[in-house]
């Protein structure tokens, strides 16, 4: 069964360092997302991406964050200068097309720990 894969599963970094989280969405999916979940809190929307551009972003997704689909298969989230409060589980998700609305396929997540 096709699945969304994420790497790394866990990354530890120092405050102020740049981090890139990688995702390979399901191959025929057209819509891509990043969500995050701080330990013990809700899953929160960060950004949606369609047709090689950001379609929507939350207030969390400030200038320190960026997304890219560099080669038609990978989908990356970059945090330019990490802060302690960026520590969270980051989930990549994808969906086939606009008709599926909330039926997202999530990856297993990348746990980011900022020291």
């Amino acid at each position: 069964e096709p699945e969304v894969t994420q790497t790394p599963s866990h990354q530890v970094t120092q405050m102020g360092q740049e981090v890139i989280l990688r995702c390979v969405p399901i191959s025929n999916h057209l819509y891509f997302y990043w969500y995050r979940q701080i330990l013990g809190q809700k899953v929160e929307f960060l950004v949606s991406f369609y047709n090689n551009e950001i379609s929507e972003k939350s207030e969390i997704f400030d200038d320190q964050f960026s997304v890219e689909r560099p080669d038609g298969s990978n989908f990356t989230l970059k945090i330019r200068s990490t802060k302690l409060e960026d520590s969270a589980m980051y989930f990549c998700a994808s969906k086939l097309d606009s008709r599926n609305t909330g039926e997202l396929f999530f990856g297993e997540g990348s746990r980011l720990t900022v020291l």
Partner: protein, 110 residues
Amino acid sequence: EDQVTQSPEALRLQEGESSSLNCSYTVSGLRGLFWYRQDPGKGPEFLFTLYSAGEEKEKERLKATLTKKESFLHITAPKPEDSATYLCAVQLYNTDKLIFGTGTRLQVFP
């Protein structure tokens, strides 16, 4: 402000003991409500989509229902493998993002 509230926060059931999880929402313009299951350390796994009041969806021991203010996830004769956190999420018109509740952590004991 758009809000999604789930109750209870945690629920412990004996195997075979049926129960219901609640998701209440206060939003402007509901496009759809979705139930997900999340196992520890994993990403959410899609279960159901509900679009209009009165709609019901079923899958094995789970049944989801929707009214104009809330949704219920009914679990009939649960098994230990149903233990997980169940998340409710809503989507509004003119947006692609999902707004999640905090979830109900279900534990089913043999």
